[in-house]
C-alpha cells in the first residue's frame, strides 16, 4: 500500500481518535457513554495496529511519528490503575492498615529498638554527667516540671493543631527521606528517644515521675507507636535501596514504597487522634491515675486493633470431591 493510500484510508479514524482524546482530556472520559468508550478502545487498537504497519513499511515517514504520538496520548486515557474510592477508606482502616503493620514488623521492631537505644542513651547521659544537665535537657514545660514548677499549658485547640502538624510532618519526612538509605528515619528515632530519655531522667531526679508520666502516657502511647511505625516505613524504603535482592534497586524501592505508603499515611491520620489527646487529656485536670488509665486503655485498643484486626481465618480445607465440571471448566452436568 502506498503511503498516500494508507494515510487517505486510515485518516478518518485517526481524526476521530484525536477528537476523542481532546474531549476526554476535558472530561477525563467520565462523561463519555459506554458505546463511546467502546469506540475509543476500538479506535486505539486500530491506531496501534496502524502504528505497527507504519513502523514496518514507512519507518522514516512523518506519519509514523504522528501515530506514535497519537497512541501515546490515547493509551493513558484508556489504561489506568483502579481509581481511589471513598468507600475503600473504612475497609482500609479495618483490615488493610493492621495487615500492613504486621507485614512490616521487622522494620517496626528495628525502629522501636532505635527509639529505645536513644532513650537509654539520653537517660544515661543525664545520670552520668549531671554537670551537663542544663544543656542536655531541652527547655520545655517538662523541664519546668522537673524543677518543681507549675507550667501553664497552651490553649487546647491550637496546641492540638501544633502537635498534630509537627508529628504528621515528622511521619511524612520519615517516609520520604527513607529513600536515602534510611539514615534520616534512623536519626529521627534516635533523637526522639534521646530527648525523651533526657527529660525522663531529669524528671526522675526531681521526683515528679507520676506527674510526668501522667502528662506523657495518655497521648504518648499512640503517638510514639505511630512515630515508630513511620520510622519503620522509612527504614523499609532504605532497606529496599540497600538490599534490593534479585530486583533492580529502583524496582525494589517501588515495591517497598507501595506497601509502605499505606502504613505511613495511615499512621499520619492516626496522629490526629494522638494530638487531640495530647492537647485535651494529658494537660487536663483529671487525676493522674485516670490519665494513666486512659493511656493504658488507648494502648490496649491500639495494639489489639493492629495485631488482631483483619486476620485471615486459617481453616483447614475441606476435602470435597472436585466435580468434573470444575476441573474441565465447562458449564454442564456431571457425566454419568
Amino acid at each position: 500500500m502506498s503511503l498516500d493510500t494508507f494515510i487517505a484510508t486510515r485518516q478518518p479514524e485517526w481524526s476521530e481518535l484525536e477528537a476523542a482524546i481532546n474531549q476526554a482530556r476535558r472530561g477525563r472520559l467520565r462523561s463519555t457513554s459506554a458505546t463511546q468508550l467502546e469506540r475509543f478502545g476500538m479506535l486505539l487498537r486500530h491506531a496501534s495496529s496502524d502504528l505497527a504497519i507504519a513502523r514496518r513499511d514507512y519507518p522514516d515517514a512523518q506519519v509514523t511519528e504522528y501515530l506514535n504520538s497519537l497512541c501515546s496520548r490515547a493509551n493513558p486515557l484508556l489504561y489506568r490503575g483502579s481509581p481511589m474510592r471513598i468507600s475503600a477508606v473504612p475497609e482500609f482502616f479495618a483490615t488493610g492498615l493492621p495487615r500492613a503493620f504486621r507485614a512490616a514488623w521487622p522494620y517496626i521492631l528495628a525502629s522501636c529498638a532505635l527509639l529505645l537505644l536513644g532513650f537509654i542513651g539520653g537517660w544515661l547521659a543525664v545520670v552520668l554527667r549531671p554537670d551537663l544537665r542544663d544543656s542536655l535537657v531541652p527547655h520545655s514545660l517538662f523541664d519546668e516540671l522537673a524543677r518543681g514548677g507549675h507550667p501553664t499549658v497552651p490553649d487546647a485547640p491550637f496546641a492540638a493543631a501544633f502537635i498534630i502538624q509537627n508529628n504528621i510532618r515528622v511521619a511524612l519526612i520519615c517516609f520520604g527521606f527513607g529513600v536515602l538509605w534510611g539514615i534520616v528515619p534512623a536519626l529521627v528515632m534516635l533523637s526522639n528517644g534521646w530527648m525523651l530519655g533526657t527529660i525522663a531522667a531529669a524528671v526522675h531526679e526531681g521526683g515528679y515521675d507520676v506527674r510526668f508520666w501522667a502528662l506523657i502516657v495518655p497521648h504518648g502511647v499512640i503517638e510514639l507507636s505511630i512515630i515508630v511505625i513511620a520510622g519503620g516505613t522509612g527504614l523499609m524504603l532504605g532497606d529496599a535501596v540497600l538490599r534490593p535482592g534479585l530486583q533492580r534497586r529502583g524496582d525494589a524501592l517501588g515495591a517497598a514504597a507501595r506497601s509502605a505508603v499505606a502504613l505511613a499515611v495511615g499512621a499520619a491520620m492516626l496522629l490526629v487522634i494522638a494530638g487531640t489527646m495530647e492537647a485535651y487529656v494529658s494537660p487536663s485536670g483529671l487525676p493522674d491515675a485516670a490519665k494513666l488509665a486512659v493511656g493504658g486503655t488507648a494502648a490496649v485498643l491500639l495494639y489489639s486493633w493492629l495485631l488482631l484486626a483483619g486476620r485471615r481465618r486459617t481453616v483447614a480445607p475441606e476435602h470435597e470431591p472436585r466435580s468434573w465440571t470444575a476441573l474441565s471448566g465447562l458449564p454442564g452436568e456431571v457425566p454419568t
Partner: protein
C-alpha cells in the same frame, strides 16, 4: 512492572502496550520539568502563604494568650500541607498533570504507559518532600540530571515517568506533501525489471521527489546518483532505452509505476 521493548534512545522509552505494539514515550527533560515546577510554584506558593496567614490570623484572634511557637508551627504546617497537597490534588484530579505540567505539555504516566493510580501519585508526592529538600535546587534535580529517563526519587519510588505529550507532527504535516512530478506526463513505458523494486525504493524515490527547494544543478547531480543505483537494482540491459532517459525523468517514471503497483 517495567516492560521496555526494543532499544530506547536517551530521551524515549519504548513500552509494550496491551495491544502488543510498542509505543515510544518521549521523556520530559530537566528543563521543561523545572519550568513546570516554577509555574506550579507561582500558583501554589501564594495559596500556601494565604493559608498560613489565614491560620495565623485565626489563631491570634481566637485567643490572646497564644505562644508564638504554637501559632508559627500551625502556620508552617498550613504552608507545608497546602504546598504539597496542591501537587497531589492536581495530579489526581487532572490525571497526572498539574497546571504547570499542562502548560509545558507534560504528564505523569506509569512505566507501562498507563495512567498512574492514586497510590502511585501519593508516593511520588510524599517523596517530593525529599526531592525539593533544599528548596528549588533539591536532590530531585540532581538525580533527574543524571537519570537516563529524567526521573526524580519520587518517580523511582512510584514507578512513574514524566512524558512529553506535545508532538511536533500533526496530521496535517504527517499527510505528506505530494511529490513534484514535472517532467513525466504519465508513467511511461513499463521499465524492465521494475518488479525488483519494492517499498524501500518507493520511499527513497518519494523522499527525493517531495524535497522542494533544491538548487537545480544539485538536484540534477543527486538524481543522477540515485538513478545509477536504481538502474543497478533493476539490472537493466546495457543497451536498454531506460539508460538514456534523463535521470530526473527516470526517477519520476519509476515512482509513478511503483505507486500504481503498490497502491
Amino acid at each position: 512492572m517495567l516492560r521496555v521493548a526494543g532499544p530506547s534512545t536517551p530521551d524515549t522509552v519504548r513500552v509494550q502496550t496491551a495491544e502488543n505494539v510498542s509505543i515510544g514515550f518521549t521523556t520530559a527533560g530537566l528543563g521543561s520539568r523545572v519550568v513546570a515546577q516554577l509555574i506550579d510554584n507561582v500558583i501554589a506558593l501564594p495559596l500556601a502563604y494565604i493559608a498560613a496567614f489565614a491560620y495565623s490570623a485565626l489563631a491570634v484572634s481566637a485567643s490572646s494568650g497564644q505562644s508564638v511557637t504554637i501559632v508559627a508551627g500551625g502556620a508552617l504546617f498550613a504552608l507545608f500541607f497546602v504546598y504539597f497537597g496542591y501537587f497531589l490534588v492536581c495530579e489526581v484530579v487532572m490525571g497526572g498533570r498539574t497546571p504547570g505540567k499542562a502548560a509545558m505539555g507534560l504528564r505523569v504516566v506509569r512505566l507501562d504507559g498507563s495512567a498512574p493510580d492514586f497510590v502511585a501519585l501519593l508516593i511520588r508526592n510524599v517523596v517530593r518532600v525529599l526531592d525539593v529538600a533544599l528548596f528549588a535546587a533539591g536532590i530531585g534535580v540532581v538525580i533527574m540530571f543524571f537519570h537516563p529517563l529524567s526521573r526524580r526519587l519520587g518517580d523511582i519510588a512510584a514507578s512513574t515517568i514524566v512524558v512529553r505529550e506535545r508532538s511536533r507532527v500533526t496530521l496535517a504535516t504527517a499527510a505528506a506533501a505530494p511529490p513534484l512530478i514535472t517532467r513525466a506526463p504519465d508513467a511511461g513505458p513499463a521499465v524492465e525489471g521494475i518488479e525488483r523494486l519494492g517499498s524501500t525504493e518507493y520511499n527513497a524515490l518519494r523522499t527525493f521527489l517531495t524535497r522542494a527547494g533544491l538548487a537545480p544543478e544539485l538536484r540534477a547531480r543527486l538524481a543522477a546518483d540515485i538513478a545509477a543505483r536504481m538502474l543497478e537494482r533493476l539490472a537493466v540491459a546495457p543497451s536498454a532505452p531506460e539508460r538514456f532517459w534523463p535521470p530526473e525523468l527516470l526517477l519520476e517514471r519509476l515512482y509513478l509505476q511503483l505507486d500504481q503497483r503498490l497502491r
